[in-house]
Symmetry: C2
Subunit: 195 residues, 2 copies
């Protein structure tokens, strides 16, 4: 198979991410969000909010990571962010198997490059991966706030659990972490989130 044929096969397979539904709803509340449009929103956030990443962060790599980070959900499905450790461990295994299958559709050299982006996001060791993760966590908080509770209310998530995620946002961006902390306070005082 020619490289271009492999690449287009991968891109057609990637289309299935449009059918993976998340717990979160789009902002107007009309339906659940899918992981493809969520990934677009995160890519746009990386363009607009890049100034809040630590100095020297390679924003192009942040955007690239965000565009590929959810592809594994094609096989593994989306996991709600507030679940127990066992469910999380099972999900991680399913996602690694999905990464093995999906990225191998690409031509040899490129498969490694794209897989490395996904691994980097998962390992969260670099400033780029931490900033990308901060955006991934902030986006549904913004939606929940706009919706007067959203998945927080639906799944009775208490503020303490949300604040644990805020710490991860702070880990990627001090400014965005502080913003998220204020948002959570406001959500509690407006009754969108149980204290």
């Amino acid at each position: 198979m020619q490289p271009l044929d492999s690449q287009l096969r991968f891109l057609l397979e990637a289309d299935r991410l449009k059918g993976v539904l998340r717990q979160s709803r789009i902002i107007d509340g009309s339906r659940r969000e899918n992981s493809a449009e969520h990934s677009w929103h995160l890519g746009l956030m990386s363009l607009v909010l890049g100034e809040y990443a630590p100095p020297g962060t390679d924003l192009g790599r942040v955007t690239a990571m965000l565009l590929v980070h959810d592809l594994v959900e094609i096989d593994a499905g989306d996991l709600f962010v507030y679940v127990g450790e066992q469910a999380q461990a099972r999900q991680e295994e399913a996602e690694r198997a999905a990464a093995d299958r999906l990225f191998a559709l690409l031509p040899d050299g490129q498969a490694g490059t794209v897989r490395a982006l996904w691994d980097e996001f998962e390992e969260r060791r670099t400033p780029e991966a931490r900033f990308a993760r901060a955006l991934d966590l902030l986006q549904p908080m913004l939606a929940n706030y706009e919706q007067g509770g959203g998945t927080w209310a639906q799944h009775s998530v208490p503020a303490s659990q949300v604040l644990a995620k805020v710490a991860l946002i702070e880990d990627g961006s001090r400014t965005l972490g502080q913003y998220a902390r204020e948002l959570i306070s406001a959500a509690v005082s407006r009754g969108f989130l149980a204290p």
Copy 2:
């Protein structure tokens, strides 16, 4: 308003792109594609197919352009690619008005930068804009082929009209243009597209 507040207001407004439906369907044919998930798919294509852009193309700018290029459809809606010149001219006016409104939600300096990306895509003068446009035109062709006709069949589009778009793909990438030309030939010989 603080810059971050303006930026988040813009990003919440951008969420509405998830509600703009295109004529094309997602590859499995189950429903129409929205412009947000389409933009994600194009961003991913820019990462995977970058080697087919002319040497020296700034691929980061291509990705950024693709993530913002459809935002104006929040106000102007999506226009089917095969329409007459009058409808096209009306659409261009509506899109300029939308760009004026939407990008002005961003803080001053950033509004200009993001608007410039949109203008660059629309003007198609740079290699980056031409390559981005090539991907934007190739993606629905791939979907139509996979679906055995898709919007070509639905709207009785003849091959001559599709080939005019193939010329624009060639203008952005010789290799992708040639691939598209072969795809159209195959589509005609398999009866997916009227000769």
